[in-house]
Protein backbone atom coordinates (compact mmCIF):
# COMPACT_ATOMS: atom_id res chain seq x y z
CA UNK A 1 0.00 0.00 0.00
CA UNK A 2 1.36 3.37 -1.00
CA UNK A 3 1.15 6.05 1.63
CA UNK A 4 0.97 9.66 0.58
CA UNK A 5 4.12 10.58 2.49
CA UNK A 6 6.24 8.17 0.44
CA UNK A 7 4.96 9.59 -2.83
CA UNK A 8 6.87 11.97 -5.00
CA UNK A 9 5.44 15.31 -6.05
CA UNK A 10 5.96 17.11 -9.34
CA UNK A 11 7.19 20.74 -9.41
CA UNK A 12 3.55 21.72 -10.11
CA UNK A 13 2.13 20.20 -6.93
CA UNK A 14 1.19 23.56 -5.36
CA UNK A 15 -0.51 24.67 -8.57
CA UNK A 16 -2.64 21.52 -8.55
CA UNK A 17 -3.70 22.14 -4.96
CA UNK A 18 -4.54 25.74 -5.78
CA UNK A 19 -6.69 24.56 -8.68
CA UNK A 20 -8.57 22.25 -6.32
CA UNK A 21 -7.43 19.03 -8.00
CA UNK A 22 -8.28 15.62 -6.59
CA UNK A 23 -4.93 13.98 -5.98
CA UNK A 24 -4.15 10.27 -5.94
CA UNK A 25 -1.12 7.98 -6.18
CA UNK A 26 0.04 6.98 -9.65
CA UNK A 27 3.30 5.19 -10.39
CA UNK A 28 4.86 6.30 -7.11
CA UNK A 29 3.76 9.92 -7.52
CA UNK A 30 0.95 11.96 -6.01
CA UNK A 31 -0.76 13.17 -9.19
CA UNK A 32 -3.82 15.25 -10.12
CA UNK A 33 -6.60 12.85 -11.14
CA UNK A 34 -9.17 15.49 -11.94
CA UNK A 35 -9.91 19.20 -11.61
CA UNK A 36 -13.47 20.06 -12.72
CA UNK A 37 -14.55 16.47 -13.53
CA UNK A 38 -13.30 13.70 -15.79
CA UNK A 39 -16.02 13.94 -18.44
CA UNK A 40 -15.86 17.72 -18.70
CA UNK A 41 -12.06 17.59 -18.96
CA UNK A 42 -12.22 14.79 -21.53
CA UNK A 43 -14.62 16.76 -23.71
CA UNK A 44 -12.49 19.86 -23.34
CA UNK A 45 -9.49 18.06 -24.85
CA UNK A 46 -11.62 16.74 -27.73
CA UNK A 47 -13.00 20.22 -28.42
CA UNK A 48 -10.38 22.78 -27.37
CA UNK A 49 -6.99 22.27 -25.67
CA UNK A 50 -6.00 20.55 -22.44
CA UNK A 51 -2.81 20.83 -20.44
CA UNK A 52 -1.40 17.80 -18.59
CA UNK A 53 1.31 17.70 -15.93
CA UNK A 54 3.44 14.77 -17.11
CA UNK A 55 6.52 15.59 -15.01
CA UNK A 56 6.33 12.14 -13.43
CA UNK A 57 7.53 10.45 -16.59
CA UNK A 58 11.24 9.70 -16.99
CA UNK A 59 13.71 11.11 -19.51
CA UNK A 60 17.20 9.82 -20.25
CA UNK A 61 19.79 11.49 -22.45
CA UNK A 62 22.01 9.06 -24.30
CA UNK A 63 25.07 9.56 -26.40
CA UNK A 64 25.79 6.38 -28.32
CA UNK A 65 27.17 5.88 -31.80
CA UNK A 66 25.16 3.11 -33.43
CA UNK A 67 28.23 1.92 -35.35
CA UNK A 68 29.87 0.81 -32.11
CA UNK A 69 27.01 0.67 -29.59
CA UNK A 70 24.32 -2.00 -29.17
CA UNK A 71 21.56 0.51 -28.31
CA UNK A 72 19.64 -0.48 -31.42
CA UNK A 73 19.62 -4.12 -30.23
CA UNK A 74 17.97 -3.16 -26.91
CA UNK A 75 14.82 -1.68 -28.49
CA UNK A 76 12.30 -2.79 -31.13
CA UNK A 77 12.55 0.56 -32.92
CA UNK A 78 14.86 0.66 -35.94
CA UNK A 79 17.11 3.51 -34.82
CA UNK A 80 19.28 3.29 -37.91
CA UNK A 81 16.50 4.48 -40.19
CA UNK A 82 15.48 7.43 -37.98
CA UNK A 83 16.24 10.92 -39.25
CA UNK A 84 17.34 13.53 -36.69
CA UNK A 85 14.26 15.41 -35.47
CA UNK A 86 12.03 12.35 -35.52
CA UNK A 87 10.66 10.31 -32.64
CA UNK A 88 9.37 6.77 -32.56
CA UNK A 89 7.33 4.63 -30.22
CA UNK A 90 8.53 1.14 -29.39
CA UNK A 91 9.56 -1.30 -26.68
CA UNK A 92 12.38 -2.56 -24.60
CA UNK A 93 11.89 -6.34 -24.34
CA UNK A 94 13.32 -8.97 -22.02
CA UNK A 95 14.75 -12.29 -23.24
CA UNK A 96 11.24 -13.82 -23.19
CA UNK A 97 9.88 -11.11 -25.46
CA UNK A 98 7.99 -9.52 -22.54
CA UNK A 99 7.70 -5.75 -22.43
CA UNK A 100 10.11 -4.13 -19.94
CA UNK A 101 8.66 -0.79 -20.94
CA UNK A 102 7.07 1.06 -23.81
CA UNK A 103 8.98 4.18 -24.69
CA UNK A 104 9.42 7.11 -27.01
CA UNK A 105 12.85 7.61 -28.58
CA UNK A 106 13.88 11.02 -29.90
CA UNK A 107 16.82 11.30 -32.28
CA UNK A 108 18.34 14.67 -31.44
CA UNK A 109 21.38 14.36 -33.76
CA UNK A 110 23.70 11.61 -34.99
CA UNK A 111 24.54 9.55 -31.90
CA UNK A 112 22.37 11.67 -29.56
CA UNK A 113 19.07 10.42 -28.20
CA UNK A 114 16.40 11.23 -25.66
CA UNK A 115 14.45 8.29 -24.24
CA UNK A 116 11.09 8.94 -22.57
CA UNK A 117 9.79 6.22 -20.25
CA UNK A 118 6.96 5.51 -17.81
CA UNK A 119 7.15 6.86 -14.26
CA UNK A 120 6.87 3.57 -12.38
CA UNK A 121 9.45 1.84 -14.59
CA UNK A 122 11.87 4.74 -14.93
CA UNK A 123 14.49 3.66 -12.39
CA UNK A 124 14.38 0.05 -13.58
CA UNK A 125 14.73 1.11 -17.21
CA UNK A 126 17.72 3.26 -16.40
CA UNK A 127 19.43 0.40 -14.56
CA UNK A 128 18.63 -1.98 -17.42
CA UNK A 129 20.11 0.33 -20.05
CA UNK A 130 23.17 1.01 -17.91
CA UNK A 131 23.70 -2.70 -17.42
CA UNK A 132 23.09 -3.77 -21.01
CA UNK A 133 24.57 -1.02 -23.19
CA UNK A 134 27.93 -1.96 -24.68
CA UNK A 135 30.47 0.11 -26.55
CA UNK A 136 31.26 3.66 -25.51
CA UNK A 137 28.15 5.49 -24.30
CA UNK A 138 27.10 8.29 -22.00
CA UNK A 139 23.74 7.82 -20.29
CA UNK A 140 22.18 10.41 -18.02
CA UNK A 141 18.90 10.27 -16.13
CA UNK A 142 17.57 13.83 -16.39
CA UNK A 143 14.10 13.00 -14.99
CA UNK A 144 14.72 14.95 -11.80
CA UNK A 145 15.57 18.18 -13.64
CA UNK A 146 13.45 18.04 -16.77
CA UNK A 147 9.71 18.61 -16.58
CA UNK A 148 7.15 17.69 -19.20
CA UNK A 149 3.79 19.17 -20.16
CA UNK A 150 1.43 17.76 -22.75
CA UNK A 151 -0.80 20.20 -24.60
CA UNK A 152 -3.47 18.29 -26.49
CA UNK A 153 -6.55 19.17 -28.47
CA UNK A 154 -7.64 20.77 -31.73
CA UNK A 155 -6.76 24.28 -30.50
CA UNK A 156 -3.40 23.34 -28.99
CA UNK A 157 -1.36 24.76 -31.88
CA UNK A 158 -3.11 28.14 -31.73
CA UNK A 159 -2.67 28.31 -27.97
CA UNK A 160 1.00 27.34 -28.12
CA UNK A 161 1.72 29.80 -30.92
CA UNK A 162 1.17 32.69 -28.50
CA UNK A 163 4.27 31.58 -26.57
CA UNK A 164 6.37 29.75 -29.12
CA UNK A 165 5.85 31.63 -32.38
CA UNK A 166 4.61 29.93 -35.53
CA UNK A 167 7.69 27.91 -36.46
CA UNK A 168 6.72 24.79 -34.46
CA UNK A 169 3.48 24.49 -36.44
CA UNK A 170 5.48 22.94 -39.26
CA UNK A 171 6.05 19.87 -37.10
CA UNK A 172 4.50 16.73 -38.53
CA UNK A 173 3.19 13.86 -36.44
CA UNK A 174 6.06 12.19 -34.56
CA UNK A 175 8.65 14.85 -35.28
CA UNK A 176 10.17 17.44 -32.94
CA UNK A 177 12.44 20.44 -32.81
CA UNK A 178 13.99 22.98 -30.43
CA UNK A 179 11.97 26.14 -29.99
CA UNK A 180 12.32 29.30 -27.87
CA UNK A 181 9.85 29.61 -25.03
CA UNK A 182 10.28 31.84 -21.95
CA UNK A 183 13.94 32.31 -22.73
CA UNK A 184 14.71 28.59 -23.02
CA UNK A 185 15.35 26.46 -26.07
CA UNK A 186 13.21 23.43 -25.42
CA UNK A 187 12.14 20.27 -27.21
CA UNK A 188 8.60 20.34 -28.52
CA UNK A 189 7.33 17.21 -30.25
CA UNK A 190 4.09 16.67 -32.09
CA UNK A 191 3.10 13.61 -30.13
CA UNK A 192 0.65 12.65 -27.43
CA UNK A 193 -1.57 10.10 -25.81
CA UNK A 194 -5.03 11.41 -26.64
CA UNK A 195 -5.54 11.00 -30.41
CA UNK A 196 -5.85 14.77 -30.81
CA UNK A 197 -3.48 17.21 -32.46
CA UNK A 198 -1.04 17.92 -29.70
CA UNK A 199 2.40 18.59 -28.39
CA UNK A 200 4.73 17.39 -25.66
CA UNK A 201 6.94 20.09 -24.15
CA UNK A 202 10.15 19.35 -22.26
CA UNK A 203 11.00 22.27 -19.98
CA UNK A 204 13.58 22.47 -17.14
CA UNK A 205 11.88 22.24 -13.74
CA UNK A 206 12.79 25.83 -12.79
CA UNK A 207 10.58 27.21 -15.54
CA UNK A 208 7.87 24.59 -15.75
CA UNK A 209 5.62 26.47 -13.31
CA UNK A 210 5.79 29.60 -15.44
CA UNK A 211 5.08 27.62 -18.61
CA UNK A 212 2.11 25.94 -16.92
CA UNK A 213 0.67 29.26 -15.77
CA UNK A 214 1.28 31.01 -19.09
CA UNK A 215 -0.48 28.27 -21.03
CA UNK A 216 -3.39 28.18 -18.58
CA UNK A 217 -3.86 31.95 -18.83
CA UNK A 218 -5.22 31.24 -22.33
CA UNK A 219 -9.00 30.76 -22.13
CA UNK A 220 -8.80 27.91 -24.65
CA UNK A 221 -6.57 25.88 -22.33
CA UNK A 222 -7.67 24.04 -19.18
CA UNK A 223 -5.81 21.70 -16.83
CA UNK A 224 -6.58 18.01 -17.36
CA UNK A 225 -5.99 15.23 -14.83
CA UNK A 226 -4.89 11.66 -15.25
CA UNK A 227 -8.52 10.48 -15.09
CA UNK A 228 -9.34 12.08 -18.43
CA UNK A 229 -5.92 11.12 -19.78
CA UNK A 230 -6.99 7.52 -19.19
CA UNK A 231 -10.40 7.82 -20.89
CA UNK A 232 -8.83 9.71 -23.81
CA UNK A 233 -6.15 7.09 -24.41
CA UNK A 234 -8.64 4.24 -24.00
CA UNK A 235 -10.91 5.73 -26.67
CA UNK A 236 -7.88 5.50 -28.97
CA UNK A 237 -7.09 1.93 -27.90
CA UNK A 238 -3.65 2.94 -26.64
CA UNK A 239 -2.09 0.59 -24.10
CA UNK A 240 -1.22 1.69 -20.58
CA UNK A 241 1.93 0.11 -19.17
CA UNK A 242 1.32 -1.88 -15.99
CA UNK A 243 -2.30 -2.41 -16.89
CA UNK A 244 -2.55 -3.55 -20.54
CA UNK A 245 1.07 -4.50 -21.06
CA UNK A 246 3.84 -5.71 -18.75
CA UNK A 247 6.92 -7.91 -18.52
CA UNK A 248 4.92 -11.09 -19.10
CA UNK A 249 3.13 -9.90 -22.23
CA UNK A 250 4.72 -9.68 -25.68
CA UNK A 251 3.97 -6.92 -28.19
CA UNK A 252 2.42 -9.55 -30.49
CA UNK A 253 -0.08 -10.58 -27.83
CA UNK A 254 -0.80 -6.91 -27.21
CA UNK A 255 -1.56 -6.33 -30.89
CA UNK A 256 1.38 -3.95 -31.22
CA UNK A 257 3.37 -5.71 -33.93
CA UNK A 258 3.56 -2.59 -36.04
CA UNK A 259 6.03 -1.13 -33.56
CA UNK A 260 8.46 -3.95 -34.20
CA UNK A 261 10.96 -3.84 -37.03
CA UNK A 262 11.58 -7.42 -38.14
CA UNK A 263 14.43 -6.36 -40.43
CA UNK A 264 16.72 -5.81 -37.47
CA UNK A 265 17.88 -7.80 -34.47
CA UNK A 266 16.68 -7.06 -30.97
CA UNK A 267 16.43 -8.72 -27.58
CA UNK A 268 13.53 -11.17 -27.49
CA UNK A 269 13.22 -11.47 -31.28
CA UNK A 270 13.54 -15.29 -31.41
CA UNK A 271 10.72 -15.71 -28.90
CA UNK A 272 8.48 -13.40 -30.90
CA UNK A 273 9.28 -15.21 -34.16
CA UNK A 274 8.43 -18.51 -32.50
CA UNK A 275 5.16 -17.04 -31.23
CA UNK A 276 4.32 -15.97 -34.76
CA UNK A 277 4.93 -19.50 -35.95
CA UNK A 278 3.18 -21.37 -33.12
CA UNK A 279 0.29 -18.97 -32.71
CA UNK A 280 -0.41 -16.62 -29.83
CA UNK A 281 -1.52 -17.98 -26.44
CA UNK A 282 -3.69 -14.87 -26.04
CA UNK A 283 -4.42 -11.72 -27.97
CA UNK A 284 -5.77 -8.26 -27.28
CA UNK A 285 -9.35 -7.52 -28.33
CA UNK A 286 -11.36 -4.31 -28.11
CA UNK A 287 -15.04 -4.13 -27.23
CA UNK A 288 -17.89 -1.68 -26.77
CA UNK A 289 -20.86 -2.27 -24.47
CA UNK A 290 -24.43 -1.87 -25.73
CA UNK A 291 -25.15 0.37 -22.72
CA UNK A 292 -23.61 2.98 -20.45
CA UNK A 293 -22.31 0.21 -18.20
CA UNK A 294 -18.53 0.09 -18.06
CA UNK A 295 -16.35 -2.98 -18.00
CA UNK A 296 -13.54 -2.75 -15.44
CA UNK A 297 -10.04 -4.18 -15.02
CA UNK A 298 -10.20 -7.95 -14.38
CA UNK A 299 -13.84 -8.46 -15.35
CA UNK A 300 -14.13 -11.84 -17.10
CA UNK A 301 -14.75 -12.03 -20.84
CA UNK A 302 -17.41 -14.61 -21.67
CA UNK A 303 -17.97 -15.84 -25.23
CA UNK A 304 -20.74 -18.33 -26.01
CA UNK A 305 -20.89 -19.26 -22.34
CA UNK A 306 -17.15 -19.88 -22.02
CA UNK A 307 -14.70 -17.79 -20.01
CA UNK A 308 -12.05 -16.82 -22.57
CA UNK A 309 -10.14 -14.04 -20.84
CA UNK A 310 -10.10 -10.87 -18.77
CA UNK A 311 -10.52 -7.13 -19.25
CA UNK A 312 -7.25 -5.21 -18.91
CA UNK A 313 -8.71 -1.68 -19.25
CA UNK A 314 -12.31 -0.54 -19.23
CA UNK A 315 -14.21 2.66 -18.70
CA UNK A 316 -17.13 4.76 -19.72
CA UNK A 317 -16.40 6.49 -23.02
CA UNK A 318 -17.47 10.14 -22.79
CA UNK A 319 -17.30 10.53 -26.59
CA UNK A 320 -19.34 7.43 -27.42
CA UNK A 321 -21.64 7.41 -24.40
CA UNK A 322 -21.16 3.67 -23.79
CA UNK A 323 -18.77 1.45 -21.86
CA UNK A 324 -15.62 0.46 -23.75
CA UNK A 325 -12.60 -1.66 -23.01
CA UNK A 326 -9.81 -3.93 -24.07
CA UNK A 327 -8.59 -7.27 -22.80
CA UNK A 328 -6.85 -10.54 -23.54
CA UNK A 329 -8.65 -13.60 -24.85
CA UNK A 330 -7.41 -17.10 -25.60
CA UNK A 331 -9.51 -17.51 -28.74
CA UNK A 332 -9.52 -15.97 -32.14
CA UNK A 333 -12.68 -13.94 -32.05
CA UNK A 334 -14.11 -12.03 -35.00
CA UNK A 335 -15.16 -8.39 -35.07
CA UNK A 336 -18.84 -7.98 -34.31
CA UNK A 337 -19.08 -11.09 -32.12
CA UNK A 338 -21.17 -10.74 -28.97
CA UNK A 339 -19.45 -11.17 -25.63
CA UNK A 340 -20.41 -10.65 -22.00
CA UNK A 341 -18.17 -8.85 -19.51
CA UNK A 342 -18.89 -9.98 -16.02
CA UNK A 343 -18.02 -9.86 -12.38
CA UNK A 344 -20.21 -11.31 -9.64
CA UNK A 345 -23.77 -10.19 -10.42
CA UNK A 346 -22.71 -7.73 -13.13
CA UNK A 347 -23.07 -8.86 -16.75
CA UNK A 348 -22.49 -6.34 -19.51
CA UNK A 349 -23.39 -7.17 -23.11
CA UNK A 350 -20.76 -5.99 -25.56
CA UNK A 351 -19.44 -6.53 -29.06
CA UNK A 352 -15.91 -7.04 -30.26
CA UNK A 353 -14.88 -3.98 -32.23
CA UNK A 354 -11.99 -2.25 -33.89
CA UNK A 355 -9.72 0.43 -32.48
CA UNK A 356 -9.71 3.35 -32.25
CA UNK A 357 -13.11 3.62 -30.61
CA UNK A 358 -12.99 7.35 -31.29
CA UNK A 359 -12.26 8.05 -34.93
CA UNK A 360 -12.39 11.84 -35.19
CA UNK A 361 -9.09 12.64 -33.47
CA UNK A 362 -6.87 15.03 -35.42
CA UNK A 363 -3.48 13.77 -34.18
CA UNK A 364 -2.19 13.03 -37.68
CA UNK A 365 -4.07 15.79 -39.48
CA UNK A 366 -2.10 17.88 -41.95
CA UNK A 367 0.28 14.99 -42.54
CA UNK A 368 0.76 13.46 -45.92
CA UNK A 369 0.26 9.96 -44.57
Amino acid sequence: METNSALRQTPLFDQHKKLGAKLAPFGGWLMPIQYSGIIEEHNWVRGSAGLFDICHMGEFMLEADLAVSNFDFLVTVNLKTMPAGSCRYGFMLNGQGGIIDDLLIYKIAEGRWMIVVNAATSDGDFAYLKGHLTGPFRLENVSGALGKLDLQGPLSAEALEVLAGAEFKKLRYYTFGYFDILGEKIIISRTGYTGETGYELYMPNEKIGRLWEKLLSDKRVRPIGLGARDTLRLEMGYSLYGQDINRDITPLEAGLERFIDWKKDFTGKEVLLKQKEDGLPRRMVYFAADSRRSPRHNYRIIYKGRDIGAVSSGSFSPSLGVGIGMGYVADNIALGEEIVLSENSIAINARVTDKPFYKKGGAKSGDAR
Binding site: I33, G227, R292, S294, S315, I346
Partner: protein
Protein backbone atom coordinates in the same frame (compact mmCIF):
# COMPACT_ATOMS: atom_id res chain seq x y z
CA UNK B 1 -20.78 19.85 1.76
CA UNK B 2 -24.53 20.06 1.56
CA UNK B 3 -26.33 18.15 4.36
CA UNK B 4 -30.05 18.99 4.43
CA UNK B 5 -31.67 19.25 7.86
CA UNK B 6 -34.75 17.19 7.08
CA UNK B 7 -33.02 13.91 6.15
CA UNK B 8 -31.50 10.88 7.86
CA UNK B 9 -28.14 9.42 6.85
CA UNK B 10 -26.20 6.15 6.72
CA UNK B 11 -22.49 5.67 7.21
CA UNK B 12 -22.32 4.49 3.58
CA UNK B 13 -23.51 7.92 2.49
CA UNK B 14 -27.11 7.25 1.58
CA UNK B 15 -29.87 9.63 2.67
CA UNK B 16 -33.52 8.90 3.51
CA UNK B 17 -36.46 11.25 3.67
CA UNK B 18 -39.21 9.94 5.93
CA UNK B 19 -42.84 10.56 4.99
CA UNK B 20 -45.23 8.41 7.02
CA UNK B 21 -44.39 4.78 6.26
CA UNK B 22 -42.43 5.69 3.14
CA UNK B 23 -38.84 6.75 2.67
CA UNK B 24 -37.34 8.37 -0.40
CA UNK B 25 -33.65 7.59 -0.73
CA UNK B 26 -30.56 8.56 -2.67
CA UNK B 27 -26.85 9.18 -2.21
CA UNK B 28 -25.42 12.17 -0.39
CA UNK B 29 -23.54 15.15 -1.72
CA UNK B 30 -20.42 13.73 -0.09
CA UNK B 31 -20.94 10.44 -1.98
CA UNK B 32 -21.50 12.02 -5.38
CA UNK B 33 -18.50 14.26 -4.84
CA UNK B 34 -16.16 11.40 -4.00
CA UNK B 35 -17.48 9.24 -6.85
CA UNK B 36 -17.01 11.93 -9.47
CA UNK B 37 -18.93 11.83 -12.76
CA UNK B 38 -21.69 9.25 -12.47
CA UNK B 39 -22.23 7.43 -15.77
CA UNK B 40 -24.73 4.69 -14.96
CA UNK B 41 -27.08 3.73 -12.12
CA UNK B 42 -28.48 0.24 -11.75
CA UNK B 43 -31.71 0.71 -9.77
CA UNK B 44 -33.75 -1.96 -8.00
CA UNK B 45 -36.97 -3.09 -9.67
CA UNK B 46 -40.27 -1.86 -8.20
CA UNK B 47 -41.88 -4.40 -5.81
CA UNK B 48 -38.49 -5.89 -4.94
CA UNK B 49 -37.83 -6.32 -1.22
CA UNK B 50 -34.70 -4.71 0.16
CA UNK B 51 -33.04 -4.97 3.55
CA UNK B 52 -31.46 -2.23 5.58
CA UNK B 53 -27.71 -1.93 4.90
CA UNK B 54 -27.91 -4.43 2.04
CA UNK B 55 -27.56 -3.92 -1.70
CA UNK B 56 -30.21 -1.88 -3.43
CA UNK B 57 -28.41 -0.16 -6.33
CA UNK B 58 -25.08 0.11 -8.12
CA UNK B 59 -23.57 3.42 -9.10
CA UNK B 60 -20.95 3.55 -11.81
CA UNK B 61 -18.63 6.49 -12.18
CA UNK B 62 -15.88 6.91 -14.75
CA UNK B 63 -13.42 5.40 -12.28
CA UNK B 64 -15.35 2.65 -10.48
CA UNK B 65 -18.56 0.78 -9.72
CA UNK B 66 -19.91 1.12 -6.16
CA UNK B 67 -22.77 -0.50 -4.29
CA UNK B 68 -25.53 1.52 -2.69
CA UNK B 69 -27.29 0.13 0.37
CA UNK B 70 -30.90 0.49 1.45
CA UNK B 71 -31.41 2.88 4.42
CA UNK B 72 -34.58 0.93 5.41
CA UNK B 73 -35.92 -2.57 4.93
CA UNK B 74 -39.06 -2.76 2.87
CA UNK B 75 -40.53 -2.89 -0.58
CA UNK B 76 -39.47 -0.71 -3.50
CA UNK B 77 -42.54 1.30 -4.51
CA UNK B 78 -41.07 3.50 -7.15
CA UNK B 79 -37.71 4.26 -8.78
CA UNK B 80 -36.42 7.36 -10.53
CA UNK B 81 -36.37 6.20 -14.15
CA UNK B 82 -35.02 9.59 -15.20
CA UNK B 83 -31.66 8.34 -13.91
CA UNK B 84 -31.52 5.72 -16.69
CA UNK B 85 -30.85 8.35 -19.32
CA UNK B 86 -29.52 11.07 -17.00
CA UNK B 87 -27.40 9.47 -14.27
CA UNK B 88 -25.59 12.81 -13.90
CA UNK B 89 -28.65 14.07 -11.98
CA UNK B 90 -27.20 12.25 -8.99
CA UNK B 91 -24.18 14.55 -9.26
CA UNK B 92 -26.06 17.75 -9.96
CA UNK B 93 -28.93 17.33 -7.55
CA UNK B 94 -28.29 14.44 -5.16
CA UNK B 95 -31.16 15.32 -2.79
CA UNK B 96 -33.79 16.42 -5.31
CA UNK B 97 -34.01 15.30 -8.94
CA UNK B 98 -31.23 12.73 -8.31
CA UNK B 99 -33.31 10.63 -5.89
CA UNK B 100 -33.07 6.84 -6.41
CA UNK B 101 -36.16 5.10 -5.02
CA UNK B 102 -39.11 5.16 -2.64
CA UNK B 103 -39.25 2.37 -0.08
CA UNK B 104 -42.37 1.23 1.81
CA UNK B 105 -40.84 0.80 5.25
CA UNK B 106 -41.40 -2.54 6.98
CA UNK B 107 -39.42 -1.84 10.18
CA UNK B 108 -39.99 1.70 11.46
CA UNK B 109 -37.55 1.11 14.35
CA UNK B 110 -34.67 0.93 11.90
CA UNK B 111 -34.76 4.71 11.99
CA UNK B 112 -32.69 4.51 15.17
CA UNK B 113 -29.76 3.10 13.23
CA UNK B 114 -29.56 6.15 10.98
CA UNK B 115 -27.69 9.37 11.67
CA UNK B 116 -29.13 12.82 12.21
CA UNK B 117 -27.78 15.64 9.99
CA UNK B 118 -25.55 16.82 12.86
CA UNK B 119 -24.18 13.30 13.47
CA UNK B 120 -23.56 12.76 9.77
CA UNK B 121 -21.72 16.07 9.49
CA UNK B 122 -19.49 15.04 12.38
CA UNK B 123 -19.02 11.62 10.75
CA UNK B 124 -17.79 12.95 7.39
CA UNK B 125 -15.58 15.52 9.08
CA UNK B 126 -13.95 12.59 10.83
CA UNK B 127 -13.40 10.82 7.51
CA UNK B 128 -11.55 13.68 5.90
CA UNK B 129 -9.04 13.95 8.78
Amino acid sequence: MNIPDNLLYTKDHEWAKLEGDKATMGITDFAQHSLGDITFIDLPKPSVKVKQAEWCATVESVKAASDVYAPFSGEILEVNTELNSHPELANKSPYESGWFAVIKISEASEKDKLMSPAKYKEYIEGLSK
